[in-house]
Amino acid sequence: MNTVEKLAGLIRETSSSLPEDVESALAKAKRREQGGSSASVVLGTVLDNVRLARKLGSPLCQDTGTLAFYIDASLRRKVSPAVVKKAVALATTRGYLRKNCIDSVTGKSYDDNCADGAPVIHYVDWVEKGCVRLVLKGGGSENMSRQYSLPDSTLGAGRDIAGVRKCILDAVVKAQGFGCAPGILGVCIGGDRATAYEVAKEQLLRSLDASGESSDAVLRRLEKSILRESNSLGIGPMGLGGKTTLLGVRIASRPRVPASFFVTVAYMCWACRRGSLKFKV
């Protein structure tokens, strides 16, 4: 199989098959909710949908989102931007992706989902050797991502971990009803504005299993406490009430300059579509 076909296969797999850790977190959440409640009905529908999409190889959500590729830098020639775009165009023709790319000035559709800057392609040195990783992130969840600047007087949030916690919980409450809960948070503490959004989003590549927890003790504690506290707010699946508002929280930090202290939250819906493909190198 050539590289374009392999990448089109990765796109289909990512769009139609939810990662195991996310599906198992959803199943666990369903068991926690009271039978017959809105929360239980919603999670039951979600899980039926996950199974059906995998069986059919169909997009599990019709918003096939922004495609972000994270590609091992040593694959820069084999998996070039031109090759990736060919695969995206092919996947679109086959109905693995919605025609989902609009020119922001003219309003016209790029019917093959390819344009200057679409899909988003990063060549990085931190993915496994020979690996291509892909995340599909829908617009409903992207609209719920936020950036805070500490201190924040409306939240009473200062420049410390307690202040960071207030920002993250505020983002959870503001996303209710809109972000397709139960969601997953990728968070970056610090950094400059642009890098922080990138880093926050990259945290969504980490597993929800214990293997994906932060190796830093302070951040690991914060990941756990934010998850517990968010789920105590009663927001629930799709904001209809219940015990499951988040499936997981993944936090990283970056250094900052003395004048800036940003807290950046990338909100991901339950349809956290990430996939990977490995080439021999």
């Binding site: 999409a53 599990l60 959500c61 918003d63 409450v173 904001g239 349809a271």
Partner: protein, 188 residues
């Protein structure tokens, strides 16, 4: 689980309460951003929405022979249609709005006045909702708006959702939002 079948009966719709789980069958029309603006600007199509259902949805559909196959068809966020929906409800006689995230107080008031409910579909469940579409009865505004924004006419069976805004002025979203706000203030 309450079953609702097109044409939707006003008395049955008015009897629903926020929190009721429902299954919808029969004709459902899709319409999202461009559709709502089109109507607000005075546009017209030869579709009767009276006692019908409007679904905030931009589906993935692929050509299959002479017809269409629906691949993925979950709800899109409804708040963007807030400025248009009260008028649309009043003028069209629609009984069910399906979407996600709920709508504003003006829409809730229009629902109470005209006998309409808001059904929350499960965001992201595109494949499952596509499977509940048994037939594509037709499509309007396709050339003008493209597949994702067109007005599709779906024949659905067992389309699942939860009544989140009823015709008595109750919104599940408002209830959950004020409770969670109070809880958040407590733990902050």
């Amino acid at each position: 689980m309450k079953e609702l079948t097109y044409p939707f009966d006003e008395r049955q719709i008015r009897a629903l309460k926020a929190g009721d789980a429902v299954e919808i069958s029969g004709l459902v029309h899709t319409g999202r951003d461009k559709f709502h603006k089109f109507f607000a600007d005075g546009g017209k199509i030869a579709v009767d929405f009276r006692d019908g259902a409007l679904y905030h949805c931009g589906p993935v559909c692929v050509k299959a022979g002479d017809g269409w196959r629906v691949v993925s068809a979950g709800p899109t966020t409804s708040v963007r249609e807030n400025p248009y929906e009260p008028k649309f409800i009043a003028s069209s006689g629609v009984r069910i709005i399906i979407g996600k995230g709920g709508m504003d107080a003006a829409t809730l008031a229009a629902m109470k006045k005209h006998g309409c409910v808001y059904v929350q579909a499960v965001g992201g469940a595109g494949a499952l909702y596509a499977a509940s579409v048994k037939r594509v009865a037709g499509v309007d505004l396709f050339e003008e708006f493209g597949a994702a924004e067109a007005c599709w006419h779906f024949e659905v069976e067992g389309f699942r959702g939860v009544v989140a805004m009823d015709a008595h002025g109750n919104s599940l979203f408002d209830k959950v939002a004020s409770a969670s706000d109070a809880l958040l203030r407590e733990i902050l």
